[in-house]
């Protein structure tokens, strides 16, 4: 039985909008993440998913509730590209890292950017910049990596490449990952566990275990097992919610 790396208890977030109404963004959220576990938080848009991830990362404060992470090193990758455009790939990845040059080169190889060390990220694709952000996170040895909807603006082919990259890195490094998404396909493909979340207010409504092999391949997307997981999630959303999830073709 793996140890909890992060535990969230009765977390709520509310704020007052411009008109003066109190908006309940997140309500009574409790869940836990184990060591070496890939967890997705699957939710419709505007459900407070990003706020939840920022709260877990310590970048925002909750209104009520507690987060237990016991001084774990948590790294947050935002949905928009966060690589620094004034630094080249090598400097971006080694930014604030204690790793030596050789170790950084290994990380660069791991995220598929070997040969691009001197390139600057501005004007590069979002997939390229995500690889840099991922590399920078890995170069700082995180215990928990929080990734917020990074694939929204990627082409299908690039997205699939990044799925494989992310899952392979997870298998290799065995760091815990929390992945926020609105996309059922990527949630199933990447995760070991999925928390389904509704909106207005944001609440966790279901916890699902994904029974797929540790090593994932794209052919899996066509498998019956994958489709049944997908149908199961769609049914939950249909039955429990009226809100729609958008998803990409498999």
């Amino acid at each position: 039985m793996s140890e909890n790396i992060l535990k969230v208890e009765n977390l709520s977030k509310e704020y007052t909008d411009q008109v003066g109404y109190i908006i309940h963004l997140l309500e009574n959220i409790s869940f836990s993440i184990n060591e070496k576990e890939f967890v997705s938080i699957l939710a419709p848009q505007c459900s407070g998913k990003t706020s939840l991830l920022k709260i877990i990362a310590g970048l925002e404060k909750p209104s009520t509730g507690k987060i237990f992470s016991e001084n774990k090193k948590i790294f947050f990758i935002p949905s928009k590209p966060s690589s620094f455009p004034w630094l080249n790939v090598f400097d971006n990845i080694s930014f604030n890292s204690k790793m030596n040059e050789k170790e950084i080169s290994e990380i660069i190889k791991l995220v598929g950017l070997t040969g691009y060390e001197d390139h600057f990220p501005h004007k590069k694709s979002e997939g390229f910049r995500f690889r840099i952000s991922l590399g920078r996170a890995l170069a700082n040895n995180p215990d928990l990596l929080i990734i917020d909807e990074p694939f929204n603006n990627l082409y299908d082919k690039t997205r699939e490449e990044i799925y494989l990259l992310l899952r392979n890195i997870f298998n290799l490094k065995k760091i815990s990952i929390v992945f926020g998404t609105t996309n059922i396909t990527e949630a199933i493909f990447l995760s070991d566990k999925i928390y389904l979340m509704k909106k207005n207010p944001g609440e966790i409504i279901e916890k699902l275990k994904v029974d797929l092999l540790e090593k994932r391949e794209l052919s899996l997307l066509e498998s019956d097992q994958f489709q049944s997981s997908r149908n199961q999630i769609e049914d939950i959303f249909k039955n429990k919610l009226e809100s729609k999830l958008y998803h990409f073709s498999v």
Binding site: L59, F76, P78, K80, W86, N96, F120, H122, R136
Partner: protein, 258 residues
């Protein structure tokens, strides 16, 4: 649309072609068709007069005087703003509303300060140096106030995740985000700063190209005015070109939310 695209693509070629056409028309019109007139001097007289602006008007000294006051101020103020950036940035976050006041003072008040500085500093060159320095610093500071809340939050989140302290965050991330925007202050206000400098020197009469403009208008020396304007256009053209090259080389990224 077509003209816009052409302008974007071949900006310098277009300007050069336009200037060449004007010079050609000027030579034909005033050298051969209207050699005696009250509008513009003959091109041949202009060329003959070039040595006199160096000899009688000590053009070289005055030219480099104005040039150094403007561009040394650019360099000094840039490095000073770098030193004081954390302080100005922190103030700008807390007193955001001062932005409107600064916008007013930067573009309107300098005209009055030209007169005041002329009285306060009389003919000292320090008056001009301090005036231009204050003007450039004011423009830079206003830019920080205007854009202080537009630093991309994804950079801030990443930096905080990496465990940067507040000081490191400002120096390593926010300052770098601001650099292209601050450099833009120089390119955007290049003509404005030249105009204020020449105006200051014109009124002050202690030195610089502005003083030469003053003397040439005093003696109704149309030839010198035309030559000075020509040198001025060439200077601005060259420095604009150089400043664009510096931007491409050192401040190539754009990363503040517009």
């Amino acid at each position: 649309m077509f003209v816009n695209n052409l302008l974007k693509r071949n900006n310098y070629n277009l300007i050069l072609s336009f200037l060449s056409a004007i010079i050609f028309v000027y030579i034909i019109l005033f050298e051969f068709i209207l050699p005696i007139n009250q509008i513009l001097p003959r091109p041949s007289i202009l060329i003959e007069s070039i040595p006199s602006i160096f000899k009688d008007y000590s053009f070289v000294n005055n030219y480099f005087f104005t040039l150094s006051i403007i561009y040394l101020n650019f360099i000094v103020s840039y490095f000073l703003i770098k030193v004081f950036f954390p302080l100005i940035f922190s103030i700008s976050i807390q007193f955001k509303k001062l932005e409107q006041l600064f916008l007013f003072t930067n573009y309107f008040l300098p005209i009055f300060f030209i007169f005041l500085f002329n009285i306060w500093f009389d003919n000292s060159i320090w008056g001009e140096i301090i005036f231009i320095f204050a003007l450039v610093m004011g423009l830079l500071k206003t830019e920080i106030f205007c854009y202080s809340k537009k630093v991309k939050e994804e950079y801030i989140f990443s930096a905080k995740s990496l465990g940067l302290t507040q000081k490191e965050l400002i120096n390593k991330v926010i300052w770098k985000s601001f650099q292209p925007q601050l450099y833009k202050v120089f390119t955007k206000n290049h003509f404005l700063i030249w105009t204020y400098t020449l105006f200051y020197e014109f009124i002050n009469k202690s030195g610089g190209l502005g003083k030469q403009f003053y003397l040439s208008t005093k003696y109704d020396d149309l030839v010198v005015i035309i030559l000075l304007v020509t040198f001025l256009i060439l200077t601005l053209f060259v420095f604009n070109f150089l400043m664009k090259k510096i931007k491409i080389k050192f401040f190539f990224w754009e990363n503040l939310d517009e």
